[in-house]
């Protein structure tokens, strides 16, 4: 089945979200949909899946004009999307989630045995190492997403839109995803693959379509559209992304360690992590999904109470860590989950940015609006946050700018060491480069930076040194000087794969 959008426009009140987008997905084709935040990808997806009606243009299914007047209509005709955020029930089993809303019945009761057997067959088709009876929440984010894809296809989708499916994944999990996409291709299912990761798109896609400012600005095969041309099309300008490792990041720990960790343990997720971060050093915490990167950072920060281990910050022991204590001692943390753990939805940029530092901006418990706004404008300038003003709602900002606000919150307490958990996750190329610049300038100011990323290339470009985690323990370290992604892949591959199943 082929799906085509022809010269689709969409306006919301006075705002034009789409100004003429065309996209054609053939059966069995993997079609990359790319563009910076605000290019119109989300709106297009919502039109393709029936959440929105186009203001102009038309949708064609197998060459016939169709109208998706609801998501249900789109689903019935075989078009469905799997979103970045997983819309399943974490507390129920994999099988219950796959068959959510259409459980096989035996009389009045759910036929659990049949449901589990059929789920097992579906999972096997996609090569997913998951038990149908496992609680969904017990799986990693990556596998949860695969279950979500499996569910969508089992609902009869013939065109599947994957909205940033890999943003939560890394290493082996991405390979699992690629396997799933290959299985879809084999079955003649059309795939719209939305991703910020160019290398994945080049590896996976048969065709690439680039949106900018609500228009289709390029559509070609990967061979016809080399990286430079693609990025130029996305950004609307000629410009490379060259980000060579900075001088400070090139060498090993210089001088005394600002952050020193010995024998950190937390449940079975962090099992013996020791590492050091020096002044002016950017250390990358690498590892597959499930290797314990996030858990390590959270245990260090005190968001999870570590079971054992010593943490020293500029030589001072951090005992009984808790977020407020860590922040007070100069250890900052940026969560990977911007929506659930970062922003205060509905509140302003000002509130979001100054949330952690309020007591320092207050006298007798009353916050000084003037000092708040001074701090906000300082960070708006230094990080290049694009906002209409300190009073703008955080939700009105692009993902990249939201992330910069959260980075500013993290820096507002003037930390000695910052831990950034996948700071460029799900943000566009331009914002990514700016976040990289900000991180480098932190290191140049003498801070210690511990950073993770789900993109190998990013870690290599950003960090001077990598600490590689495997199954919650440090498996090794390497300098990034002259290292290729393949070098790190080899190192990751050499380490035993993380147990995620």
């Amino acid at each position: 089945m082929s799906l085509e959008a022809r010269a689709v426009t969409k306006s919301f009140g006075a705002a034009m979200a789409l100004r003429g987008v065309s996209l054609a997905v053939a059966a069995g084709e993997v079609h990359g949909l790319m563009g910076e935040n605000g290019a119109g990808k989300s709106t297009l997806i919502k039109i393709l899946t029936g959440f929105h009606q186009p203001s102009g243009g038309e949708l064609l299914l197998d060459g016939q004009a169709v109208v998706f007047d609801s998501p249900r209509a789109a689903q019935r005709l075989g078009v469905a999307a799997v979103y970045q955020e997983i819309n399943l029930i974490p507390e129920r089993s994999v099988a219950a989630n796959v068959f959510l809303g259409r459980e096989p019945r035996q009389g009045l009761l759910i036929d659990r045995r049949r449901m589990e057997a059929e789920t097992a067959a579906i999972l096997a088709r996609f090569g997913l190492p998951v038990s149908p009876r496992a609680r969904l929440a017990s799986l990693g984010l990556g596998l949860q997403q695969m279950v979500s894809i499996a569910r969508t296809v089992s609902l009869g989708a013939r065109v599947v839109i994957l909205d940033e499916p890999s943003s939560a994944l890394s290493g082996a999990e991405v390979e699992v995803l690629f396997g799933v996409v290959e299985a879809l291709r084999r079955d003649g299912i059309g795939v719209v693959f939305v991703s910020h990761r160019l290398s994945e798109c080049y590896r996976l896609c048969d065709r690439l379509t680039v949106l900018r400012d609500g228009r289709t600005v390029a559509s070609a095969t990967p061979a016809e559209l080399p990286r430079e041309a693609l990025i130029a099309a996305m950004l609307g300008r000629e410009g490379g992304l060259g980000s060579p490792p900075s001088a400070v990041a090139a060498s090993g720990p210089a001088g005394a360690a600002r952050l020193s960790v010995r024998g950190l343990h937390w449940r079975n997720r962090v099992r013996d992590v020791s590492l050091e971060v020096g002044s002016g050093e950017i250390v990358g915490l690498a590892g597959l999904l499930g290797a314990g990167r996030t858990e390590t950072l959270k245990a260090l920060f005190g968001a999870e109470r570590p079971d054992s281990g010593t943490i020293r910050l500029d030589g001072r022991a951090l005992t009984q860590p808790s977020p407020s204590r860590s922040l007070g001692l100069g250890l900052g943390f940026l969560s990977e989950d911007r929506r659930a753990e970062g922003i205060f939805p509905g509140l302003s940029v000002r509130e979001n940015l100054t949330a952690a530092v309020l007591p320092r901006l207050a006298r007798f418990g009353i916050v000084s609006r003037r000092r708040q706004d001074a701090l906000v404008s300082r960070f708006v300038a230094s990080l290049g946050i694009k906002t209409a003003g300190p009073g703008q709602a955080i939700g009105g900002l692009s993902g990249g700018n939201q992330q910069k606000v959260l980075l500013a919150r993290c820096l507002s307490l003037e930390p000695r060491v910052v831990m950034l958990d996948d700071p460029t996750r799900g943000i566009d190329v331009g914002a990514k480069a700016e976040v990289h610049r900000a991180i480098r300038s932190l290191a140049e100011q003498g801070l210690g930076v511990l950073v993770t990323s789900s993109e190998i290339e990013e870690l290599l470009a950003l960090a001077g040194r990598l600490v590689v985690l495997s199954e919650g323990a440090v498996a090794g370290g390497m300098s990034t000087a002259g290292a290729e992604p393949e070098t790190m892949l080899a190192l990751l591959a050499a380490a035993p794969a993380a147990g995620v199943a």
Binding site: F301, A303, P323, S324, S326, L327, G328, F333, S335, A340, E341, G342, I343, F344, P345, G346, L347, S348, E351, A355, A356, L358, P359, A362, G365, I366, V367, R369, A393, R409, L413
Partner: protein, 325 residues
């Protein structure tokens, strides 16, 4: 967001189109509804224009305003305080029990009783992590029971005295003193919500508990103070209501008041999903419900139908509020 300060600034969003005008109105449905209801009453309700009727209304509204303030704080954290009505009753019973010691002891003791109940509720929520719905429900039952036990279930008349009379009857510039007091407290709470570190943290906790925790916000302390404050305000409300009634009554004082407080807060623009508090809206929510009750009575609407009409009115107001979000 929806602090009194911002409500004043919000009309800058120009209502250019009809749709915009409708949205603008919806976002302020509590004020519009209040104006419409008062307009209707002025024209059609016999006796409503009498200043004594207004005065009586404000005497009734004053304690409700206080508990609606506490309720707004609790709801702002994505919680709820179901205990406020019973805590009013408990404060009343404490006054009845300590009448012998004089008003100078009995009245502060009533307020402190509220604080103690609120602190207990806060400890259950913040320290033991009990769902506020459950702890509030437990306290609702327990405080009412304790109040009845303290006075043996009977009403105790207050002795004559300046303090009781001042709280119960005094009028300044045409307004009941207690109403002026309640509005002053509302101003204070509104300012605290808009500008104090604690007030902003209340909103942060409601907007995202996890993000607050990771941003170093002392979530437990903030919650403890919220429920403590709500209890304190309920104690004060119990004192006012007792003085107005001229008697300590463990059965009557505050009965069902928690529902009015919740409705007032939510109608006023403090959503149950937390992260937003409108103190001005809560005050007008109370005024709206009080005027509504009075309208039914003054138009001789049968009490049973009045309840149903009120429920319908609340649902309509909430619906508008929801769409206006």
């Amino acid at each position: 967001m929806s602090t009194p300060v911002d409500v004043a600034a919000a009309p800058r969003v120009a209502a250019t189109s009809l749709w915009g005008a409708a949205a603008w109105l919806k976002a302020r449905s509590v004020y519009v509804a209040f104006a419409l209801l008062v307009g209707f009453d002025m024209l059609a309700t016999p006796g409503f224009q009498n200043p004594f009727a207004v005065r009586s209304l404000l005497f009734t509204a004053a304690p409700l305003i206080l508990i609606a303030l506490g309720q707004s704080l609790a709801i702002g954290t994505r919680g709820i305080d179901l205990s406020v009505g019973s805590v009013m009753g408990l404060a009343s019973a404490m006054i009845g029990l300590s009448l012998g010691a004089g008003a100078a002891v009995a009245l502060p003791l009533g307020v402190l009783t509220g604080l103690a109940a609120g602190a207990l509720n806060g400890a259950l929520v913040a320290l033991l992590g009990i769902d506020p719905l459950i702890s509030g429900l437990a306290l609702l039952v327990a405080a009412r029971g304790l109040a009845q036990a303290m006075l043996g279930g009977a009403r105790v008349n207050l002795p004559p005295g300046v303090a009781y009379a001042t709280l119960g009857r005094a009028v300044f510039a045409g307004l009941p003193l207690v109403a002026i007091g309640a509005l002053a407290v509302a101003g204070l709470v509104g300012f605290a919500v808009a500008r104090s570190v604690w007030g902003r943290r209340v909103v942060f906790v409601g907007a995202s508990r996890t993000a607050s925790f990771l941003a170093g916000v002392p979530v437990r302390r903030t919650l403890l103070l919220v429920y403590g404050a709500s209890g304190l305000l309920a104690g004060l409300a119990g004192v006012m209501a007792t003085a107005r009634l001229g008697a300590a009554d463990p059965n009557y004082i505050g009965a069902g008041a928690e529902l009015d407080a919740i409705a007032a807060a939510v109608i006023g623009g403090t959503p149950l999903s937390g992260g937003r508090i409108s103190i001005l809206g809560s005050v007008f929510g109370v005024l709206l419900l009080t005027v509504l009750d009075a309208s039914f009575i003054m138009n001789d609407v049968n009490g049973n139908y009045a309840q149903m009409l009120k429920a319908g009115f609340i649902i309509a107001a909430l619906y508008l509020q929801r769409s206006g979000g």
